[in-house]
């Protein structure tokens, strides 16, 4: 016969263990272990977050001839939203304009300011020495410069 001073405390501990094991599975989230040690449902939750950038394909659905315009022809390989900002709103409701239409010098300089760290083949100028009083778009958005960059 096991004396009470042994089986009572050990019994309580065993009871706690059994209650834990019994109750635990009730609280494991429903989709846990579906793909692995995580809530399977979380993939769907994360995948249903709202999209902000529509993607170039969406722009091209309507604006397929944009590549013929002087400025845009040189930036054909660039995604529209790189400059025009996240524009899913515009795709869904065209009356809502894209978030950005940058035309100022700082915007162009962001990519085209001469910088040692940029690849040598990338078109870049020292903006301060390249017609500093003129806006980039005066020359670079007209047919005048078709043969130059």
């Amino acid at each position: 016969m096991i004396p009470p001073q042994i089986w009572r405390p050990l019994g309580i501990l065993l009871a706690i263990l059994l209650i834990y094991l019994g109750v635990r599975s009730f609280f494991v989230p429903a989709t846990f272990y579906q793909y692995g040690h995580f809530r399977g449902n979380s993939l769907a939750t994360i995948a249903s977050r709202p999209v902000q950038y529509a993607g170039k394909k969406a722009c091209m659905d309507c604006h397929d001839t944009i590549g013929e315009k002087p400025y845009h022809s040189k930036h054909k390989t660039v995604s529209c939203e790189t400059c025009h900002g996240p524009s899913l709103g515009h795709v869904e409701d065209p009356s809502q304009l894209p978030s950005l239409k940058p035309t100022n010098k700082e915007w162009c300089a962001r990519c085209h300011e001469a910088n040692n760290a940029r690849p040598k083949t990338f078109p870049q100028v020292v903006i301060a020495r390249h017609y500093p009083d003129k806006d980039c778009m005066i020359c670079h958005n007209s047919k005048k410069l078709e043969k130059k960059p």
């Binding site: 009470p4 001073q5 009572r8 405390p9 309580i12 501990l13 609280f27 494991v28 040690h37």
Partner: protein, 403 residues
């Protein structure tokens, strides 16, 4: 995008040296995570000291045996609090035991803690104090009496035979308890030691260093508590108990220092990728806390002082004073060890090319104020426990474990 800029963080941005990955500006584990291993270390150390008496029959430590168990319990109860305060979602904390990810040492925390609390510490205390509990259940009235009666679990026998069973069970649990205590604090060391991304943490020696610094801090704590409680209760402080604790403290410190030195020697010798940034760390941001507090104040001075007590014939009174102050310095030093590991490991960037800064808040969730409260609370709980279950002999039935 008008941000809710935190001015303290923007200030910190100005103090970055070299290059850090942009996300590394803010330290993730702060003062609360320094306090947590300090507390569990004291738990493990106090218990191991108690086991020296119980299992290895070091008779001289008998006077603080029961106090050590209560100390371990007081600190263990507070230990999860810094973690809970630190979590982003403490209300989800139970997920760690509902869906524990078994590859994570942190997931094992829930089980190791529960095991240690329930199967080792609470059971051990119950067996050791049962005779007293039965005694109190008969004499105390009201709510308090009810608590004692529940604690007896309905078993009121305090005959010699019954007490012998208590003693035997206590001994078995202590034997199980020693590896459990090592596991309790060793896994904390493994949490750091397992991180290959961080060379200050990710070393095989980390769990071992944690365990031995825990033992050192636990013995030091009990030495201090023995003196403090002795003075408070106006009872004599037994020299042979102090001598025994002083001796074990000394040898534990020697071994701990040897381990830390090995770690350093090994790092310098191997001189692998991270050595440059780590040398900058130790000679710069960690100079005061590592060389000043941890090494000189917390290790070398106590080592010398304790060493002198072992080697020279020093009269009782100054010897006790040397033990006491060495213990205080060691307690400060071991806190610095935790600080240097936790904070030090995050001050340098994983790019090995720069440093960030850390200034704990004065008030707030993760702050010096909360940290201080968490460090004081175990003593308050210990005080309450000693009123509830007086560890000193002469109150309940006398039980000697030294036979």
């Amino acid at each position: 995008m008008a941000p809710n800029i935190n001015p303290a963080m923007m200030e910190a941005l100005q103090h970055v040296k070299g290059y850090i990955f942009p996300n590394e500006l803010e330290l993730q584990w702060g003062i609360l995570i320094v306090i947590y291993p300090y507390l569990t270390g004291l738990v493990a150390g106090a218990f191991i000291l108690a086991s020296l008496n119980r299992v290895f029959h070091i008779r001289q430590i008998e006077p603080i045996y029961r106090l050590s168990l209560l100390t371990a319990l007081a600190f263990l109860v507070i230990a999860p609090l810094p973690l809970l305060f630190h979590l982003g979602h403490p209300e989800r904390a139970l997920e760690v035991i509902i869906t524990p990810h078994l590859t994570s040492p942190m997931a094992m925390f829930g089980f190791v803690y529960a095991w240690y609390l329930m199967v080792v510490l609470l059971l051990e205390i119950w067996y050791d104090f049962r005779a007293d509990i039965v005694g109190f259940s008969k004499t105390k009235t009201g709510w308090l009496g009810m608590v004692y009666r529940i604690l007896t679990l309905g078993f009121m026998d305090t005959s010699e035979k019954s007490l012998a069973v208590d003693d035997k069970m206590g001994r078995i649990i202590t034997i199980i308890g020693i590896p459990s205590a090592i596991l309790l604090h060793g896994y904390v060391g493994f949490i750091f030691g397992s991180i290959k991304a961080n060379p200050w943490w990710g070393t095989v020696l980390m769990p071992v260093i944690f365990i031995f610094s825990a033992i050192v801090s636990g013995i030091a704590l009990m030495l201090v508590l023995y003196v403090v409680t002795g003075r408070a209760r106006n009872t004599p402080i037994k020299t042979e108990c102090m001598d025994a604790m002083g001796k074990f403290l000394f040898y534990a410190l020697v071994f701990d220092f040897a381990l830390e030195s090995l770690d350093w020697f090994h790092r310098f010798y191997e001189a692998e990728e991270s050595i440059d940034i780590l040398v900058l760390l130790v000679s710069g941001k960690l100079l005061f806390s590592l060389v000043g507090v941890q090494l000189i104040l917390g290790t070398l001075i106590p080592l010398t002082t304790l060493g002198l007590t072992q080697v020279l014939e020093i009269p009782k009174k100054p010897r006790k004073i040397m033990y006491f102050w060495s213990a205080i310095l060691i307690l400060i030093g071991i806190f610095a060890v935790r600080w240097n590991v936790v904070i030090g490991g995050q001050l340098f960037s994983k790019s090995f090319a720069g440093f960030t800064t850390y200034k704990p808040d004065l008030i707030g969730r993760e702050s010096l104020l909360v940290g201080s409260i968490l460090l004081i609370m175990p003593f308050i709980i210990l005080w309450v426990l000693t009123r509830f279950l007086p560890p000193w002999r002469g109150v309940g039935k006398e039980i000697s474990h030294s036979s």
